[in-house]
Amino acid sequence: MLAVPEIRVQHAPFDFATECAGFAAGRTDLGAVVTFCGIVRQDGAGQLQQMEIEHYPGMTERALQAIADEASARWALGACLVIHRYGVLTPGERIMMVATGAAHRADAFAAADFLMDYLKSRAPFWKRETTQHSTGWVAAKASDEAALQRW
């Protein structure tokens, strides 16, 4: 039940419900499916107007594929999906999702958590936030880099 990771990088919205329904559909060898979905979050003051995501076409797909291959090699995954959007998004919009399917829940959870940690700091995406008063690039967090040490 080797996973061939499916990677999609796109501007267009994806339908989270359809992706969840279709992921590993009809498979009876997978007992556990984990999904993660990242959403444009409004800031406390409610001032975020838009988030723009820049990426590096070509390298983005390669990096996501490499991260998903690594997850599939480390854990007993039977299915793996990564979707990531770029371009202008507004608060509440879904930015990206990952899904992992495995016989057992520990593999599905660990692989999804790993995918997110690596995707966050190793896939070439950059976020720029625009509020009513300013625009600026989101700074990488030390905690995101530190999270990689878990694996």
Partner: protein, 83 residues
């Protein structure tokens, strides 16, 4: 050697262009950064703090000591913030 140099996010904004092509003999990424920084103020400013810059050689994350022999494309950008 002819190299495509790509810039992203605020590195791109500081350089002023998303891409340029360079004929160079730089042996490592560090050599290339020095050559670019010597060209003008914009490049010098963009590369003034290398701790804030990441590099990819032919679309693989790399480091500044990496050799450039055979490379076609080098990209500079800030730490990534996807997800």
């Amino acid at each position: 050697m002819k190299l495509d140099i790509l810039y992203f996010a605020w590195v791109r904004e500081r350089i002023g262009v998303p891409r340029e092509t360079l004929e160079t003999d730089a042996e490592t990424v560090t050599d290339l950064v020095q050559e670019l920084s010597a060209r003008d103020e914009r490049h010098a400013l963009a590369f003034s703090d290398l701790r804030a810059i990441r590099v990819a050689v032919d679309q693989d994350l790399s480091d500044f000591s990496a050799p450039l022999a055979g490379a076609r494309e080098v990209a500079f950008f800030p730490p990534m913030t996807g997800g």
